[in-house]
């Protein structure tokens, strides 16, 4: 057998700017080291496709609000307001906000536990999220669940169960219903790099592919699954190499670049709406904090690499810089947006803390739907 790796790794269906065959050599290592990524990931021609000022600032507000909400929750946890544990997603703000900002109000969002930004931009109020974390009656589960096991029915956001992978088939099924009803609506869901190893991921994506369902699957590849490294998780060079095995298009993107995320996701969502079937998007980021508030991640991460990602790939800082350098917004506008984002998070916390704890007498309610 002749072994020409580039031929064999043949990368299908990635956006042309981003995919080069030789690009996938040792990609998993490169994610970690950042080497060689800059040049190519920056080649995306944003100038031609800037969103409007309003949209740009809306994205900015929600990224910043996401960061503020999570930081506020984190300190609430340290003050003992959060029963149980909490997962945050520092570093994933651009991927969450950029993607979910493409959804319409009437479209379903099926988030995972690193998608706080998706909740917020889809319209889930921070107060509700916080009340949920605090185990209060005003949280959407009325104290039955906590952490980012959270959904919000008024805005068509499902609640995940902890079992990673389970929501991929659910998202496919929601998309199936949209297709069956002919609504022309897309569904958006997420999965971690770890989650791609689950059988549910496989069964759900395959189901969507076979039935050409209007759903977009975003792999939030943050390079860790709890304490497990990518090389213990999968052996392919990039997870979008799974796309041709399902017969669907796949894209690899830098998930710290919100405009890139938004561009690729909105194209994918438009294809879904147009009946062209599902898309798989691998969004590469770095988990900039521990797996959960309890995780001693300095035990196992490469700290030097983490420092580089923190310094060079903080999605908020990148976007601040872009807005300013492109002349899209002034420093004052940017600061005002940050200030509002944080103030709103703090107000939300204060309000959530006023919500009562559930009355034990409510325990038996709602086991069955009427």
């Amino acid at each position: 057998m002749s072994e020409t790796t580039a031929e064999r790794a043949g990368i299908p269906a990635t956006s042309d700017e981003l995919a080069r065959l030789d690009y996938f050599e040792d990609l998993r290592d490169r994610y970690l080291s950042l080497d060689g990524l800059d040049a190519k990931w920056h080649s995306f021609e944003r100038e031609n496709s800037y969103p409007s000022f309003e949209t740009c600032m809306r994205l900015h507000y929600f990224m910043s609000h996401t960061r503020a909400v999570e930081e506020t929750l984190d300190s609430a946890f340290r003050s003992g307001h959060i029963p149980g544990t909490a997962y945050f997603a520092r570093g994933n703000e651009a991927a969450s906000v950029g993607s979910a900002s493409c959804l319409r109000d009437e479209e379903w969002l099926v988030p995972m536990h690193r998608n706080c930004g998706a909740h917020l931009v889809k319209g889930h109020p921070a107060r509700s999220i916080m009340a949920h974390f605090f185990g209060r009656m005003d949280g959407p589960s009325r104290g039955r669940d906590g952490n980012f096991h959270i959904g919000y029915r008024p805005k068509k956001i499902t609640q995940l169960i902890s079992h990673i992978g389970s929501m991929i088939p659910v998202a496919a099924g929601i998309a199936w219903a949209e297709k069956a009803r002919g609504t022309g609506r897309a569904t958006l869901t997420y999965i971690g790099d770890g989650g791609t190893s689950t059988g549910d991921f496989h069964e759900g994506v395959n189901f969507a592919a076979v039935h050409k369902l209007p759903v977009v699957f975003i792999i939030d590849n943050n390079q860790y699954a709890y304490k497990t490294l990518l090389k213990e998780q999968y052996a392919c060079k990039s997870l979008i190499l799974k796309a041709p095995g399902y017969g669907i298009p796949g894209f690899l993107i830098d998930g710290t670049d919100i405009l890139l995320v938004r561009k690729i996701c909105s194209e994918a969502i438009d294809r879904a709406r147009a009946g062209e079937g599902p898309t798989l998007i691998e969004s590469v980021t770095m988990r900039l904090a521990g797996h959960s508030v309890y995780d001693k991640y300095s035990d196992y991460v490469d700290l030097e690499n983490l420092r580089r990602w923190t310094n060079e790939r903080d999605p908020l800082e990148r976007y601040d810089t872009f807005l300013e350098e492109s002349g899209m917004a002034t420093i004052e506008e940017i600061s005002a947006s940050h200030a509002r984002a944080r103030a709103d998070a703090e107000t939300a916390r204060d309000e959530a803390l006023k919500s009562p704890f559930p009355d034990p007498a409510t325990l038996n309610d709602d086991v069955y739907a009427p």
Partner: protein
């Protein structure tokens, strides 16, 4: 009004509900083009189309999850497992995802899970299982076990209209059981009009004074046979078909115990770890004063289900085992 097989009853219920409500649809392996392993949906795809009678890839967890997703949007999926045994593939989806969703305030999950289960002849360890013990302890689920065509049809309609995940047990052995070979009590006329059968109400198949026999599923047949035999011996047996396992008709069990003071619980599933354990425990707690004898249970032996006929016969509960237990109780 008329008589149909158990299989026809299920088929008719599906057909009528799909006609009534266009949000009802079916997922299952081979159910479309092929009409399903047991031909329950033969002709359905031609009539209702490929979007409502969906041949799915071989991936139970995937399409169970997809059905749950569709149900979250308000649709009413009915999913067919080719054999009940394969429901273990979707265990997590049912127990963790579907069952608690409403409790977690995330809305109803109107989902019907059709499980063709229990022993047929020599179907072996993976095509003969009784799945109810796996699910019985999960709040948020309902579990239904109809044995007559009348109940099969009426309860499937109830299941489809219910807003909760319902595990609907079907008995392969009964699918094509000749109607005229059934005891009269097991073949009530089927109304030509729409009707439903409520969950949680047991049906007394036979009134009796001396011993109570509580059962459901395939063993209803053995219960009636055994009661006939005991009758000849001068023992009067009250036979109750639970029909609905979750919720179950606790009052009916307590009432019959109050009446006879002697209780035999019978099911095809293994005695050890079977649902009879919970029934017996409830009686031992709530009707202790009325008990005149040890509570007896008859079920399959505590081994996996074997295939070869001599082993399978030894494994399954038999009329003889029921007769022996009844005699012992009567003599107590």
């Amino acid at each position: 009004m008329g008589q149909i097989t158990y299989r026809q009853a299920i088929s008719e219920a599906l057909w009528e509900e799909m006609e009534r409500d266009k949000e009802v649809f079916l997922y299952g392996e081979d159910i479309g083009l092929g009409g399903g392993a047991f031909y329950i949906t033969k002709g359905f795809q031609e009539h209702f189309g490929r979007d409502r009678v969906v041949d799915v890839p071989l991936s139970e967890a995937g399409w169970t999850g997809a059905a749950i997703g569709a149900a979250l949007t308000g649709m009413r999926p009915v999913i067919e497992f080719q054999f009940a045994d394969f429901v273990t593939e979707s265990f997590k989806m049912i127990v963790d995802l579907a069952a608690g969703n409403h409790f977690r305030q995330m809305g109803p999950v109107p989902l019907v899970i059709r499980l063709p289960g229990a022993a047929l002849v020599s179907a072996g360890p993976f095509h003969s299982q009784n799945p109810e013990p796996w699910f019985f302890g999960t709040p948020g689920l309902k579990i239904i076990a109809p044995t007559t065509a009348y109940d099969a049809k009426g309860m499937l309609k109830t299941a489809i209209r219910d807003n909760n995940p319902v595990i609907y047990l079907e008995y392969k052995k009964l699918y094509n059981y000749p109607v005229n070979e059934l005891p009269d009590i097991l073949r009530p006329d089927i109304p030509s009009d729409d009707y439903t059968v409520p969950f949680g109400e047991a049906r007394t198949l036979r009134e009796g004074e001396d011993v109570s026999l509580v059962t459901f599923g395939t063993t209803v047949l053995q219960a009636l046979e055994a009661a006939d035999i005991l009758e000849e011996e001068g023992v009067s047996t009250e036979v109750i078909d639970m029909r609905s396992i979750l919720p179950y008709d606790k009052e009916a069990i307590l009432r019959t115990v109050e009446k006879t003071g002697k209780l035999l619980i019978l099911h095809e599933a293994r005695k050890h770890g079977g649902i009879s354990g919970e029934f017996a425990a409830v009686v031992a707690e709530e009707a202790f004063e009325h008990l005149d004898a040890p509570i007896q249970r008859v079920g399959a032996t505590n081994t996996p289900i074997p295939l070869s006929p001599p082993l399978e016969n030894a494994y399954l509960p038999s009329t003889q085992k029921v007769v022996d237990a009844l005699r012992e109780l009567a003599a107590y």
